[in-house]
């Protein structure tokens, strides 16, 4: 059981260049214990490079990296982390049991097999060859391997890609249980829904720079706050100049408005069109914030 709180890993002003391409341009990131930190970004934004620097797979050209208060290059440090990389394919001709036994041997105090099997829901897969498993089953095995060493810090790259809903919920519940015990999790994902479901903190990378970093609500707030939709005869052009309205368009019979605050806009719409109907107001999600943040920087 991990009880101490604080920072599990940091990147501080990290710069990484590959030839003339700057993959990371002064990235600062803090991963806290007992929290899920989601690192979001489009392909090529620098997510993989950030993870590679944190894992000690590549050294930064400038800036510093700390993994559990130490260098990621040290074996003793890496014995305290778990890793699941989407891009890593395990040998097809090894059985799941062999993979588990081998990976667990790297750690000083691995979990008992029953617990690992339960974590990944892989009981029926133990005797099977990895290459004969479906994509979703392989992800479950990779997840089980990542958590088998009782990690204090868990790196998860697209952990639920290809999983059915039931398996995804199981993985999420294991992640939540680990976090409740104090484990820090760095989640890199394209699924904003997954980040929204799990993350306490969100950092958004665009072209090697962190453009947003905060709690889920704080990052959501950086995007469009409210989306208003209704059936009305008020034309979109009319509303675009209203205070707080950032966009308005006609979607078939409906008027769709994006605004920072909904109430004044709704009030004016009702004043102009008492016959307005089908009114919907909803808070914009992380997806909208992400799209807006990446669009602004691009």
């Amino acid at each position: 059981m991990i009880t101490d709180s604080g920072t599990a890993a940091t990147l501080d002003g990290v710069v990484k260049r590959y030839g003339s391409t700057t993959a990371l341009d002064g990235v600062g990131l803090r991963i806290e214990r007992g929290r899920v930190t989601a690192l979001l970004g489009a392909n090529g934004a620098g997510k993989s490079t950030s993870v590679a620097v944190l894992l000690g797979l590549t050294r930064p050209d400038a800036g510093s990296v700390s993994l559990l208060g130490s260098s990621p290059q040290l074996l003793a440090t890496r014995r305290r982390i778990g890793v699941m990389l989407q891009s890593a394919a395990l040998p097809d001709t090894l059985r799941v049991r062999e993979l588990l036994r081998l990976t667990a041997s790297y750690y000083p105090n691995p979990k008992p097999i029953a617990e690992v099997v339960r974590s990944g829901g892989i009981g029926e897969l133990l005797g099977r060859l990895y290459g004969k498993l479906s994509g979703g089953q392989q992800r479950r095995v990779q997840f089980a391997l990542a958590v088998c060493g009782r990690p204090e810090l868990l790196f998860l790259d697209e952990p639920t890609t290809g999983l059915d809903i039931e398996a995804r919920e199981m993985v999420w519940s294991v992640i939540r249980a680990l976090v409740a015990q104090g484990c820090a999790v760095l989640l890199t994902t394209h699924y904003l829904e997954e980040a929204e479901a799990l993350a306490h903190r969100v950092a958004v990378l665009v072209r090697g720079r962190i453009v947003a970093d905060g709690t889920l609500d704080e990052v959501r707030a950086q995007g469009v706050r409210r989306r208003i939709s209704c059936i009305t005869r008020v034309p979109p052009e009319h509303t675009r100049s209203w205070p707080g309205v950032s966009a308005a368009r006609r979607q078939q019979e409906r008027l769709e408005i994006e605004a920072t605050v909904a109430e004044p806009v709704v009030r004016r719409l009702l004043d102009l069109d008492p016959d307005l109907s089908g009114l919907e107001v909803r808070r914009a999600g992380l997806a909208e914030a992400f799209i807006q943040l990446t669009r602004e920087v691009a």
């Binding site: 074996l75 890593a88 090894l94 041997s105 000083p108 105090n109 097999i113």
Partner: protein, 265 residues
């Protein structure tokens, strides 16, 4: 770091050890490497099957009817040298190229796998495959070829096959740092086949053009054949220089491969 030695885990349970055993990791890693390749027929069948097949065909069936026992001993020595090359070249070269391509090497580097365990496991795998091939050939030589050698000579051949695989491991590793996984078997064949014919392994140098014989010492296989012949008492030259050359080549191949892996991953 504390190192303890524990018995090999054979049950399905993961041990709840409180310390990391380097021995255990190496044993499991080597076991995984062996099982992985044994279960890959495209590797295990030609690597283990071809040398005995060729030996039976060319060394026994097509051999002169009244060949002397010397011919049988030379045949056994050269086919053991031939059999030893493949596990090193293909076992390390192809698997390294595939592991690099598929991201497994990156994952291994991120995991707390002790440095060197990955490579050591592959070397152990290659040595075990080489020993297996060597033993099968010896068994065929004794039972079908009626080759007569002393226990010491058989022991020397076995030891030579296990150590003699190392320069080919280095060469395979080096090739594996240059090529993509899918291209690796073809590229390694471009090294393996010419080396087999141009170094005196499959064809006597005496029937090859003079220039080929002169260049033969550039191939590690040439020196392995000379040592194998010496092990059965049919050597033409002192063993010391051949050992030194093979040790030097091994160091060179591993050194360059290591440098490339550190630079290019």
């Amino acid at each position: 770091m504390t190192v303890t030695t524990q018995p090999i885990e054979t049950a399905s349970a993961i041990p709840s050890a409180t310390r990391v055993s380097l021995t255990r990791i190496l044993v499991l890693e080597a076991h995984a490497e062996c099982m992985r390749l044994m279960r890959t027929p495209a590797f295990s069948l030609p690597v283990i099957g071809f040398p005995p097949l060729f030996y039976v065909l060319f060394g026994l069936v097509l051999a002169p009817a009244h060949a002397s026992s010397t011919v049988g001993q030379v045949m056994l020595a050269t086919f053991i040298a031939f059999g030893v090359m493949a596990p090193g070249l293909f076992g390390l070269g192809v698997t390294l190229a595939i592991d690099r391509d598929r991201g497994l090497l990156t994952l291994k580097r991120a995991l707390p796998m002790p440095p060197g365990a990955y490579l050591l496991a592959k070397l152990v795998m290659a040595m075990l495959f080489a020993a297996t091939i060597s033993l099968v050939l010896m068994l065929l030589a004794i039972t079908l070829g009626h080759v007569v050698l002393g226990l010491f000579e058989y022991g020397a051949l076995l030891a030579l096959s296990m150590l003699g695989v190392l320069p080919f491991c280095g060469l395979g590793l080096l090739v594996g740092t240059f090529v993509k996984g899918q291209a690796a078997p073809a590229v390694i064949n471009l090294v393996y086949l010419p080396m087999s014919f141009l170094s005196g392994v499959l064809l006597p140098l005496s029937i090859l053009p003079h220039i080929v014989a002169q260049l033969a010492p550039l191939w590690p296989a040439y020196h392995l054949v000379q040592l194998a012949l010496a092990a059965v008492g049919r050597g033409h030259s002192a063993t010391g220089p051949h050992l030194l050359v093979l040790a030097g080549m091994t160091g060179l191949f591993f050194g360059i491969a290591r440098s490339r892996l550190q630079t290019h991953g």
